[in-house]
């Protein structure tokens, strides 16, 4: 009986995490459109609900009631599987995100590796969708995005090594606790910038949204998708963006820690700080979408392989030598 009880308790905890994530994904879509509109001196979605907050929910409702069209010449199983894979991978990664010292769903030893693995699997949803559509534009979009995501993962991996050198543990809670005195954004500022830009490329956001460049590829890998399946791609994409923001705030911005340990700041509960940091990073994402023009594909590849990768590798050597020379290596 106790096993059953534990089972239901786990399900309750998972729901308690997933439902807020899904709701905040809907809100974040609204925020993205609002920021974009304000930069361009438009109003943005402001009709449905207060400040247009329920716009995304209305859109989602519309998608649910639309017909799902499956192309006759597509590979149907993989075609249907692709949005499910995207959505699932975007959601399972949230299991290891620590919201405070005690509130984390799965406090595993290799939290960073898990996050990295799940985000590197994210490319499958796109490749599967693009290939199974059996159509030119989705396939081109899928190939572009696969190459792009694999390239930028490499530099993200090297950046994570930088942080790990300073922490000495792969556990996400340990990484946050190691930043109690100094957030890693200060000593590793160049790495933070590169992480941010790589995260833009990893989530296919502008200026690196070549997989769905609407001027060339209609809508890239999601061209043939409609109704709920399109909505799942879209929710998965935004959940991934939120996840990248969470990863950035845990690795560099001190996770749930308050910026300074004085009165008005340290009474605010820890999860609020994490949420504020995620929001801050997300607003940066949205601003960049509004103000930066799209990269050319060869520029994108050049940036990933010839600039970010060597630079972050050199920074690994620098960090390691610095820690070694000043005897700051953790875990000794």
């Amino acid at each position: 009986m106790t096993e059953l009880f534990i089972f239901f308790e786990q399900i309750y905890r998972i729901m308690f995490l997933l439902i807020p994530v899904l709701v905040s994904v809907a809100m974040i879509v609204w925020l993205d459109r609002r920021v974009w509109a304000f930069v361009q001196k438009r109003r943005g979605p402001n009709v449905v609900g207060p400040f247009g907050l329920f716009q995304t929910l209305a859109d989602a409702l519309k998608y649910i009631f639309k017909e799902i069209i499956i192309p006759a010449s597509s590979n149907k199983v993989i075609f249907i599987l692709a949005p499910i894979v995207t959505m699932t991978l975007a959601l399972i990664a949230w299991a290891v995100i620590p919201f405070s010292e005690s509130y984390v769903l799965a406090d595993i030893n290799v939290g960073v590796l898990y996050l990295f693995a799940v985000s590197s699997l994210g490319v499958y949803g796109i490749i599967m969708g693009g290939w199974a559509s059996n159509s030119k534009y989705p396939f081109l979009g899928a190939i572009r995005s696969a190459a792009q995501m694999v390239s930028y993962e490499v530099s993200i991996g090297v950046i994570i090594i930088n942080v790990l050198l300073c922490v000495g543990s792969l556990n996400l809670s340990d990484i946050v606790l190691a930043q109690e005195d100094l957030w890693f954004v200060i000593p590793l500022f160049p790495m933070f910038i590169i992480f941010f830009i790589s995260a833009l490329a990893e989530t296919n956001r502008p200026p690196f949204d070549l997989p769905e460049a609407e001027a060339e590829l209609v809508a890239g890998y999601q061209t043939e998708y409609s109704g709920m399946m399109y909505a799942m791609f879209w929710l998965g994409e935004y959940a991934n963006i939120l996840l990248m923001c969470a990863m950035g705030s845990i690795l560099f911005l001190g996770g749930w820690l308050s910026p300074i340990d004085v009165f008005p700041f340290n009474v605010i509960p820890a999860p609020i700080w994490l949420i504020l940091k995620i929001l801050f990073l997300f607003i940066l994402f949205a601003l960049i979408k509004a103000i930066v023009p799209r990269y050319r594909y060869d520029q994108l590849m050049k940036l990933g392989w010839k600039i970010f990768l060597p630079f972050s590798l050199i920074y690994v050597v620098l960090t390691a030598s610095f820690l070694m020379y000043f005897d700051l290596l953790p875990g000794q």
Partner: protein
């Protein structure tokens, strides 16, 4: 304990079935997807026996990178005609001897490993390095690889580097007529390189040579 067994059999069943499906399925792309499923369930098995680092690295390297490249190559082939003919064909059986040889070797290796284990139950204690069970396996792996076995580790890195260079050399070809962007040229271009002011005489025009 029962839950543990159920989960173990669940993942191993998926692993075995998908491994069979890799060879049996007619569409090569489906084969690659089954291979990915196989990798994922094997990494779950790794995690179940407590080797979480290996399991995650398996996911990152094999599923996140190697299988993506597999898919890339397979998808580039003509999709409609790409059928896994080998399993159905009756005439061509030249692959069978090689396949048999490889599988027999693997089979004997497995027998040696498992037999040695059965024959000498304390085999795991007779290995050269001491295992510190207090450390997480990421730490213990790191402390062994980067100290006692650093030369072998670097050697394997060199082998991989050579393989990488080999692949680049094999596929590299210099194409003529490609217009490349040179930032240096762009930046160092001055006004007099691009613009020339000419007084045009009436009814004469200007001769332009590009």
């Amino acid at each position: 304990m029962i839950a543990h067994a159920i989960v173990f059999y669940f993942f191993s069943l998926i692993a075995i079935v998908s491994a069979i499906m890799v060879t049996v399925s007619k569409n090569t792309v489906n084969s690659v997807f089954f291979l990915i499923l196989d990798f994922i369930s094997i990494s779950c098995l790794f995690i179940m026996i407590g080797a979480e680092f290996l399991g995650m690295i398996m996911l990152i390297v094999y599923v996140g990178a190697v299988a993506v490249l597999f898919l890339f190559v397979v998808m580039m082939l003509n999709v409609a005609q790409q059928k896994n003919e080998w399993f159905n064909s009756t005439g061509r059986s030249s692959h069978i001897p090689i396949g048999l040889l490889v599988s027999i070797i693997i089979f004997f290796e497995l027998i040696i490993v498992i037999g040695g284990w059965k024959y000498k139950p304390d085999l795991i204690d007779s290995i050269a390095i001491e295992i510190n069970t207090e450390l997480t396996n990421t730490q213990s792996l790191g402390s062994v690889i980067y100290t006692d076995y650093v030369h072998l580790f670097q050697l394997s890195g060199m082998i991989l580097l050579v393989a990488m260079i080999g692949a680049i050399v094999l596929t590299f070809r210099q194409r003529s007529g490609v217009k490349r962007q040179s930032y240096f040229k762009q930046i160092s271009r001055e006004r007099k390189d691009g613009i020339e002011l000419i007084d045009v005489e009436n009814n004469k025009g200007v001769k332009i040579d590009v």
